[in-house]
């Protein structure tokens, strides 16, 4: 335990991933579900950087993947918030249980 290996960092990112997944399962509010998705994406980014640093230190591919994932997460959050605001305008609520027109 005197040195940090890649397993320690993977432990942190796995715990963060499943924390986000718990939030995604239990929350019914769309904004909080979006926050859980952000936690999941961040745990994946930690994985990419850790693999690049500890297993392939001569390359930069993990850093590039992290940058692209951050970009796509920003685009996804912007579109999701536009959809949430539009839903609030038409339903006056952003609870996923209230938006069930397409369910059956």
């Amino acid at each position: 335990m005197s040195e940090i290996t890649v397993t320690h960092i993977l432990f942190v990112s796995t715990a963060l991933f499943f924390t986000g997944m718990y939030g995604l399962f239990t929350r019914r509010n769309m904004i909080t579900m979006l926050m859980s998705v952000e936690l999941i994406l961040n745990s994946v980014n930690i994985n990419f950087v850790a693999f690049n640093k500890y297993l392939y230190p001569g390359k930069l591919d993990g850093v590039f993947f992290t940058i692209f994932v951050i970009t796509i997460a920003a685009a996804e959050a912007a579109v999701a918030i536009a959809i949430i605001i539009n839903l609030y305008r038409s339903h006056h609520s952003i609870d996923v249980e209230d938006a069930s027109e397409l369910k059956y």
Partner: protein
Amino acid sequence: MNASVIIFYIIAAFILGAGILAVTTRKIFRSAIWLLFSLIGIASLYFWMQVEFVAAVQIVVYVGGIVVLIIFSIFLTQKSGDEMPKPLKNRSIFSALAVLFGFAFTFNLIKQYGFKQIESTPFEVKVSDIGNQMLSTTEHGFVLPFEVVSILLLAAMIGCIVIAMKVKHNEQ
């Protein structure tokens, strides 16, 4: 136990504690603030791993962009002082069980795999290297994903404007 190890454990506890509070607290504005702390902790983990460029990008994009966007949308759509309703007991019990089993399974796999670490080559990320490889058209260049992502950002921007635009009814 040297200082680097202790700092790693502090950062890890900070990230996980703030993340767990972000998904369990019942006031939505507090949840956003805990998410902010968790993202700052992840940026400090990148600093700890000596990838300063990614840490800076993380702070600029997540803390400066996405969390501010989330807080704006909370203020537009919610009464932020109210508590959210409690999740159903069955749902929270079963999702906690599923998450715990998934975590145990995944962590068991990671522990048994035995990654072979390469210590010989030093890992340093120079911003000029990132820029050169990002725009190079050779075999290991990333110019095609770069262009695709820029088109995606443009499409997302126009899509947001179109989705959130108010439709005026003037033809009555």
